[in-house]
Symmetry: C2
Subunit: 340 residues, 2 copies
């Protein structure tokens, strides 16, 4: 396996090191190339994602990203110039984000919750398309527009992938989250596609939920969700809430997938570079290791993926309550469990 690694900034390199420890423990033949991208490179050279680097990335089977950013980089620079550019250039149309409340993990919700859902977020269009503009900028007559672009092509492939996943899961339940009562044009398209594709998956039960109602359900009854399919922006919002109710973004993994496998997919923890704790050795590498499980699944190694997940589940269930793991100690434990 040829793996491109972008450790990034802050705690990125620290969690990536532990992720690689686990990966190389379960899959010995990994050929790693490391790419220096992120805030630090931008500060030094002004470069975000040189075309030559993008070309090299394409030559790999997958990409592992730690986290990029630091507070001195203006908002939007790294997002649009690096993270979103990779997602769009490599056609990462399925943004996969599971949320699961593992035994032993205390979430913020009172009472017993059972959360085991996966969000299939569209990754290459919608309000993220970058369309829009400013008229009469900086004047009292300024007008700013943002255009959400939704195509049948783009929606269909994501909805289909969500149905495939739902069909493979025990509960076989899929919820479309949107705001069809207000965003009527894109709502119509999403609804039609879900209806059409559902014909091919008669075993999957289909539900619909407005994005605002989904907020309420995620804190009062998150167990109702199995697979959620939604657009790029709603997916961004809902996955942070799903992560929060499942114990925090310290445990949230994500895969940016080109499910056609034309381009390498990219795996990353949902959390940021957390400059405040960088260098202290206290960052939790669990989300990165979970992202490794997604990577193994995507590359057709489900047995290894299950071993990594089982290691995480065991570790979380047996961690002393309140004990904060040291980054390396957690990585060592997970690597030992996964390769045992």
């Amino acid at each position: 396996m040829k793996l491109a690694v972008i450790p990034g900034d802050g705690i990125g390199p620290e969690v990536v090191a532990e992720g690689l420890k686990v990966l190389t423990g379960v899959i010995p033949q990994v050929e790693i190339s490391t790419y220096d991208l992120g805030a630090s490179r931008w500060h030094r050279t002004g470069e975000l994602l040189p075309d030559s680097v993008l070309r090299e990335l394409r030559g790999h089977d997958a990409i592992l990203l730690g986290a990029v950013g630091d507070p001195t980089v203006p908002a939007g620079i790294l997002e649009r110039g690096l993270l979103l550019r990779i997602r769009f250039e490599l056609d990462h149309h399925v943004n996969l984000r599971p949320a699961r409340l593992y035994p032993g993990v205390t979430g913020p919700l009172a009472g017993d919750q059972s959360i085991d859902l996966v969000v299939v977020r569209e990754g290459t269009e919608g309000p993220y398309a970058g369309a829009g503009g400013l008229l009469r900028k900086d004047s009292p007559h300024e007008i700013a527009t943002e255009v959400s672009v939704n195509t049948y092509f783009g929606v269909e492939r994501v909805v289909r992938n969500a149905f495939e996943r739902a069909n493979r899961r025990a509960r076989k339940h899929l919820t479309l989250v949107h705001k069809t009562n207000v965003l009527a044009y894109s709502g119509q398209l999403w609804s039609r596609v879900v209806e059409e594709v559902s014909m091919e998956y008669p075993d999957v039960a289909v539900a619909y939920c407005h994005i605002d109602a989904a907020m309420i359900y995620l804190v009062t009854d998150p167990g109702r969700f199995d697979v959620i399919v939604t657009d790029n922006l709603f997916g961004d919002i809902i996955t942070d809430l799903a992560a929060a109710v499942s114990g925090g973004i310290g445990l949230a993994a994500s895969g940016n997938l080109d499910v056609s496998r034309t381009n390498p997919s990219m795996f990353e923890p949902v959390h940021g570079s957390a400059p405040d704790i960088a260098g202290t050795g206290t960052a939790d590498p669990t989300a990165t290791v979970l992202s490794i499980a997604l990577l193994l699944d995507h590359l057709g190694m489900p047995d290894s993926a299950r071993r990594v997940e089982a290691a995480i589940a065991f570790d979380l269930a047996t961690r002393q309550p309140g004990s904060v793991g040291r980054t390396q100690a957690v990585g060592d434990r997970l690597a030992a469990l996964a390769s045992s």
Copy 2:
């Protein structure tokens, strides 16, 4: 006071009756005209909001709405033809939604939470403008666009109103919630306006939070928020979550305000028509009564507003845990407390 009342469908008329009980208890001189609008009228006549009715509504000091809708009306019909049409025609640019965890109310979050925030949601533009369209509809080449329209004029008046409110509150703290790192055009406009207007309110501390991060904070540390200002769609999403963590939409009030007072403002509970419990006499009228407090505030009767709020606070603190109030009994109690 000339009040237009739209009881609507389902539990709408039930909760509105209790709201009026409380209102007429504290303000004896209320002249009420009732308007039959909603799912039931649409089913009978096909009418949503006849121009003549809209003209009559304009002649009132305020509007009280219960809830509209039933499951047999296709999504979007009542929303766009009635609710949003009123908001847009009457220029309800400030959509005011307080969220407070009252003593005695058990929310879904574990641990002690102190929540007392108010969301100032823009109400007449953004992704709700209705701009966009479909190309190659119903074909495999369909493209659906939604255009978020944001104007300096529209953003400035809402941001200013939010600063005024923050300045009157004890904590004097305002958070802009947006997604400036992705929605760069509208993000730039909102950020600029907040920065400009903040100069006039030197006592108000200003923070910024991405919409996705706001999801996490609302379930892990909701006490950090005081006044939130945000766009129409983010406001829709955030206010349902804020309501959920403060004990549910059964307690969530809202005011659709034309703060210039050119047109009557409209007050409504955030919950829907709940056809499943309509007629059972179990709907909680508290959100409607809280909306009455917003109405009194808006019309310059803060003392009466505080009395209504105090009645609600007392009632919630003294309700037997687990006892579900009967609609009329709750209304009677609140009316007696508020007018005592």
